[in-house]
Symmetry: C2
Subunit: 383 residues, 2 copies
């Protein structure tokens, strides 16, 4: 028996309490026993989102909600800006272009965070830009983009929607949807929310709803206005993934019990411990600035293939982390500390990396990374 | 404690074996342990579909696959025909119109099955029609439309796609996708397949793929050509509902063990027993012809409100069945015998209906329906 651990940036482990809630007999989504569960999940989601706006629940992967963010609010030919600093920034561009939008890319070198002044510059250069799309955490590079700072740039732009893919950031980062002026904030179930994949979330501001009135793009499955109307009756437009919504309420209940501040502090502490361990092992994190609290991208040391590290972690030590994507393939490996994650997930990850690198012939002092992580974890330090 | 039973036409009960499979620790969709599960589920799905075509697995409700059936294959302004004999026929029209298709409706009075000659007539009247959309089972009325007969009408129409929503029919009815020339056959997880909602299925013929080449409609989340390419590597384009796919393989494994013929015979027998019980209780089924093997719509007797029957079944007897939709609200109630269903689900349903009607003041001989059902069930009669 090789005991297995899931330390990838989504899907993440689901707490046994939640798995068992979802294993209870299925209930009917139009019957009275579903209504209070949906209502509770809906309200808890707004709490997590720190929003008074509607927070819609869709049955799809996060990319479904990203698609809906385009085809419910815009018209062909409209100008938008996309912050592109990795694979998921690229995805925004692809979605916008698939629907015929004119995209100005604010290109960010991989491993760096967006400079809010570059967003301001793009808007100045093209005043017809109607939206800024970005990630909170760019999963491919492990960078956190400063949502608050970009929000400040957009504060007085009455005609510009601020659309944030927070799929990998939610729960790990303190995201103030309303206070920072985010018009659409997108989440997914299989990351910080500690659920299997299959649900996507989307908060929608009054300003976004107003813009939606002018959109003529066809849509049917992702009809957000109808979802909004359903939400008032604690219903979705079509049959939702009932068991995942039952799990959503349970998982949010766990986070609620922990408290929002404590949840963010836990993620900050785990990420901090991981980064200290990386240094202590003589390795480097990939981000040049603003590393996320969700996932740490670590450079493969000179002469070691990152994919070999990924493979050894998995095959020899039972740990499913993640390799590098696209041009980072072989150059980095990524370890998440996201959702149902605690002290000994970091210890396990660091220990496995130490043994893996040693085994691959890289000089490393066993225990050096673990010791450094412990220095942080013993004190609950977040920086 | 009121012991609860789910006898609605979706969601349907999930077998405990499947619930527990899905409650196992989550695995990563890009890691090697997921691949054989996905491959097995994919192949078993083709077996159920009786097809050599691709059978795609989407993370959405069935309506997601219906939407994808429109926006991946057609262009705005194209002419199509929709068989409309109930709420879900209506939905085809709405989806097609949302995407700007010109719809000719082959209207079927509620409670009746489509006359294939009417489909032929519509095609003759408008030779520019590029597709016929229909349901196999129209859930709102409980009618089975003769897919084979409509397929025969379309046999030599090289320019017409045959698109069947089999969401409520799959598993309960013998549907020969390839032999009957169905180009797109749509299924959902929460019906005959004995799973929670959250997955949709879609088989695509070579003819449909060819038609897709000419489609210019924008789409991103539901990009079926990309899903087809992924299928070859046992992958989905975006993060799929991993736990539901694990459950899909388990549920299909159970059906495989039973055997396809036995699965269809079981549903035919249960439906037959239900219909005999309805007559014996002095009630009438709603369909005038071709009642489905998935769900039986029963007319509320004169002077009794169908919604009262639904409510009493639920509140007094713990049975979640379904009321009537739209113009049938209050006039019918519906009981499913679909998926994880056996002899004593029918007995339970009939017994509850007897006690409910008696309790609502309707003259009925207790045990009369149950006795009639037993006459069928003791012999495994399918007609």
């Amino acid at each position: 028996m090789l005991k297995r651990y899931l330390l990838a940036p989504g899907p993440t482990p689901v707490p046994p309490e939640v798995l068992l809630r979802m294993a209870m007999p299925i209930i009917h989504h139009r019957a009275p026993d579903f209504i209070p569960i949906f209502e509770s999940a809906k309200n808890r989601l707004k709490w997590l989102y720190q929003t008074n706006n509607d927070a819609l629940i869709l049955t799809s992967s996060g990319t479904g909600a990203m698609t809906a963010s385009v085809n419910n609010f815009f018209n062909q030919g409209e100008h938008v800006a996309v912050v592109n600093g990795g694979k998921f920034g690229e995805r925004w561009t692809k979605i916008c272009q698939a629907y015929g939008l004119q995209v100005t890319e604010v290109t960010v070198p991989w491993g760096q965070a967006v400079n809010p002044a570059d967003v301001a510059g793009a808007l100045e250069k093209d005043p017809s830009i109607k939206a800024v799309f970005m990630q909170a955490v760019e999963t491919s590079t492990g960078v956190y983009h400063d949502v608050e700072a970009v929000g400040a740039v957009l504060k007085d732009k009455k005609d510009v929607l601020f659309i944030v893919d927070a799929i990998s950031a939610l729960v790990a980062h303190d995201l103030k949807t309303d206070a920072w002026g985010v018009d659409l904030m997108i989440g997914g179930s299989q990351k910080g929310l500690m659920l299997p994949p299959g649900l996507a979330f989307l908060s929608v501001s009054a300003k976004a709803w107003e813009k939606a009135e002018g959109s003529k793009m066809p849509h049917f499955y992702f009809n957000l206005k109808k979802e909004r109307d359903g939400l008032k009756k604690n219903q979705t437009n079509f049959t939702p993934a009932v068991s995942l919504i039952v799990g959503l309420d349970a998982a949010l209940g766990m986070l609620e019990e922990e408290g929002l501040g404590a949840v963010f502090a836990r993620h900050a502490r785990l990420a901090n411990a991981m980064r200290h361990a990386v240094s202590a092992m003589g390795l480097e994190i990939y981000p040049i600035q603003s590393p996320s609290n969700s996932v740490t991208a670590i450079k493969a040391p000179e002469g070691v293939d990152g994919q070999e590290i990924y493979k050894t972690l998995r095959e020899k030590y039972g740990i499913t982390a993640a390799g590098g994507q696209d041009k980072l393939k072989g150059k980095v490996f990524r370890v998440a500390h996201l959702g149902y994650a605690g002290t000994f997930d970091v210890i396990t990850a660091v220990s496995a990396v130490e043994m893996t690198l040693k085994g691959l012939g890289h000089p490393i002092k066993l225990g050096s990374g673990v010791g450094a992580a412990e220095e942080i974890l013993i004190e609950k330090r977040t920086s």
